[in-house]
């Protein structure tokens, strides 16, 4: 039974994600520039960028098939779906039964496959290179992300993201070493998945190092705008997922309109702090060679599995 509050909350959460995602990207870029002693771009730069791109004509490569044209829409759709499932303001999401946490990983995987296929579709060497690297990173990051989710699912006894968040938000304050392990693993995975610094640099077009940028080189106009927006949405979705799993306090419950209103400023504060921390971590880390990425993500996988094992050993008895 879908309640009116739930319905409104759902619509509001998606609208908020669409509106707020570029702001989060802008905020991280701004913090990064400050920390690196550069003059910062305006906070609203991503919006100007999207506005500009939506008003430009699309230039298609000669060999581009229809896959190349509809891939941005699929990627964008996947990210909107992800943002609709992940509880950012309220855990009462009528849309949540559409996909549990495991399917959520699948949704991210679907977007990744289509963007990699589109990159290979045109047949430029950079696109192929970017697509292959992206699949390498994805293939390493996905098991780690799944392990993190398994840990949380075992604690909450459910794979539905909304239920996990509700359970975690309502427990007594207990030190779970497994959640700490899972949290570190999740941070590492989200850096890799969102093409942030230790694995990829979103601000560079250097051919030897780029991964995400290499895949979208051939895109222009509204296609590029959609992909950029989708990238922002992905970052926002991962941030919200991280906040919901590891700092779930303040997320509204069922049929509680007042809590929903209170959740918004809290979410903004959490995102602002999280964004600043992302910028800090990006600044103090150097981009590593692509061949070091397996080691980085292997460590994330290790931490996630350790979290799971420690949970089984220490937290299930007693």
């Amino acid at each position: 039974m879908i309640s009116l509050t739930g319905f409104l909350g759902q619509i509001f959460a998606v609208a908020l994600a669409l509106a707020l995602a570029p702001l989060l990207t802008g905020w991280i870029n701004q913090c990064r520039a400050w920390l690196q002693n550069r003059s910062a771009p305006p906070l609203l730069q991503p919006y100007y960028m999207l506005h500009k791109l939506f008003h430009k004509d699309v230039v298609l490569a000669h060999g581009a098939s229809s896959l190349f044209r509809f891939a941005p829409f699929i990627v964008f759709g996947c990210m909107v779906l992800a943002c609709a499932i992940i509880p950012s303001l309220s855990s009462d999401l009528p849309f949540a039964p559409a996909a549990d946490a495991l399917a959520l990983v699948g949704v991210f995987g679907l977007a990744r496959i289509f963007i990699a296929l589109a990159a290979m579709d045109v047949g430029t060497s950079f696109g192929t290179l970017g697509g292959r690297r992206e699949m390498l990173i994805g293939f390493l990051a996905e098991p780690a992300l799944l392990m993190v989710i398994f840990t949380m699912a075992m604690i909450a006894q459910s794979t539905s993201v909304a239920t996990i968040v509700e359970t975690l938000a309502h427990r007594e304050l207990v030190i779970y070493p497994s959640i700490a392990f899972a949290g570190i693993a999740f941070t590492m995975v989200s850096f890799a998945e969102n093409a942030r610094v230790p694995v990829d640099n979103p601000a560079t077009h250097l051919e030897l190092t780029m991964i995400h940028e290499a895949m979208i080189l051939e895109y222009s106009g509204r296609h590029l705008a959609l992909i950029e927006w989708a990238a922002s949405l992905k970052l926002y979705a991962y941030s919200c997922l991280g906040l919901a799993l590891f700092f779930p306090w303040g997320i509204a419950e069922r049929d509680n309109f007042l809590a929903l209103v209170a959740a918004l400023p809290l979410l903004l504060v959490k995102l602002a702090i999280g964004g600043a921390l992302v910028a800090l971590l990006e600044t103090i880390n150097a981009k590593m060679r692509i061949f070091r990425a397996p080691e980085f993500l292997g460590t994330a996988f290790l931490l996630a599995v350790l979290g799971l094992l420690v949970h089984l050993l220490l937290e299930t008895q007693a």
């Binding site: 030190i175 070493p177 290790l302 599995v305 350790l306 094992l309 089984l312 008895q317």
Partner: protein, 221 residues
Amino acid sequence: MTSMPLYAQLINLCAAVILLLAFAMLAQRRVVQLVDLFALQGFMLFLATLVMAFKTGQHHLFYSAGLTLVLKVILLPWILHRLVRQLHIKGEVEPLINIPTTMLIGLVLVVIAFNVAMPISQLSSTIARGTLGIALAVVMLAFLMMITRRKAITQVVGFLAMENGLFLAATSATYGMPMVVELGIALDVLVGMIILGVFFFQIRDQFDSLDIHHMEQLKER
């Protein structure tokens, strides 16, 4: 969900960090950082013992916590650092198997250790019996480190880390060993460390290297 008392949570947290540090030592490429990680592991062990001592009020646990602090956090790392400086060990330790593979093997070892320890810890009635599995895992990871490293000094660090694991096992399963045994072991480790330090110099004088693989071709002259 039944919640655990706070001290049990703290001990579990310390044990989990000790396990994490065991993995960090397995992954560490540089000798100096390896010694620092060992000192940190000793410190977490000290904290765990201290919490347990406060909870149970057993005097000898306070002594063994103090012994851990003096020996494993201050004295042994200091000796190791001095050895590293005097032997001019620089750069990276070369593992026999590459590090990601070592980590995966380590993960399998942890699963085995947890499985083995699960029925044993059911028999124990101490407050921290869950950490027995972690202690066993730390011992096995230290074993793995000794097996996969080439240089003598990293093997010694592995040996010392193994002692950390044994100590954790003793405290978690039975509230520590009798004081005499504990003192004896501490003295053994210290003396062993000093003798091994002398050995390092001998090995290096003989082979111009600390790589113990040279010792496989020893011949009488």
